[in-house]
Subunit: 128 residues, 2 copies
């Protein structure tokens, strides 16, 4: 596979691009980063493979939880430096807390209030 | 107004937080950054005020175009370092190219193909 679509991206100074993942219901479920290799593998495999900045390695989303993201479409913004990825979120759980979306806290007055339920206990997802 | 909700955010090394803007139809229309002051003003005024990294100044979205974003809800992700903002996109145009969303190019094979129309000529929006 050639890599013209990779060259079109304005990678940041660390070689990364921010990626917004939106599920089939339109919910923004996650935000993470990809480097060139992870985006190439995402496109090749059809499943979201991010670059984990904390672990400094490729991160196949769902590798432990089974909650993989099947890629439907990938879009690039006007500046060429942000990706929007439409996904099918397997298991309906994107967040490591066991919630549908990582954006489960909403501003009420001066507080971030939890407004979405835990669908599955993280202990059950990851361990035990 | 106290600033507990500002202190809860994990600001990056430049004092910024990434912000995803989603409109009333569920479309992700924009991605930008806020600093502490811009988020405070966004909450105080109810309209999106970003931090422009290129111009290094506060950027009241729509200040030139009239395409302001009225904030409906603000959500914080699990790590506390990304914001999702539900907005009413005035004029239905978020992108400086005159399109509904900044994410108007979709990957087809090895190419990013323009898949959304220009709704209003940028010359008409910004100048002349």
């Amino acid at each position: 596979m050639t890599s013209r679509f990779l060259d079109a991206i304005q990678w940041d100074e660390k070689g990364l691009v921010p990626v917004i993942a939106q599920d089939e219901r339109g919910a923004v479920v996650m935000f993470a980063y990809m480097n060139r290799q992870s985006l190439e593998q995402t496109v090749a495999t059809g499943e979201a493979i991010y670059w984990s900045r904390s672990r400094q390695r490729l991160w196949h989303k769902g590798e432990e939880s089974g909650h993989v993201q099947r890629v439907r479409t990938l879009s690039l913004d006007c500046d060429g430096d942000v990706l929007l990825m439409q996904v099918e979120q397997v298991g309906g759980i994107a967040c490591h807390t066991g919630r549908h979306s990582c954006f489960y806290r909403t501003l009420k007055g001066d507080e971030w209030v939890v407004t979405a339920p835990v669908l599955k206990d993280p202990e059950e997802i990851y361990g035990g």
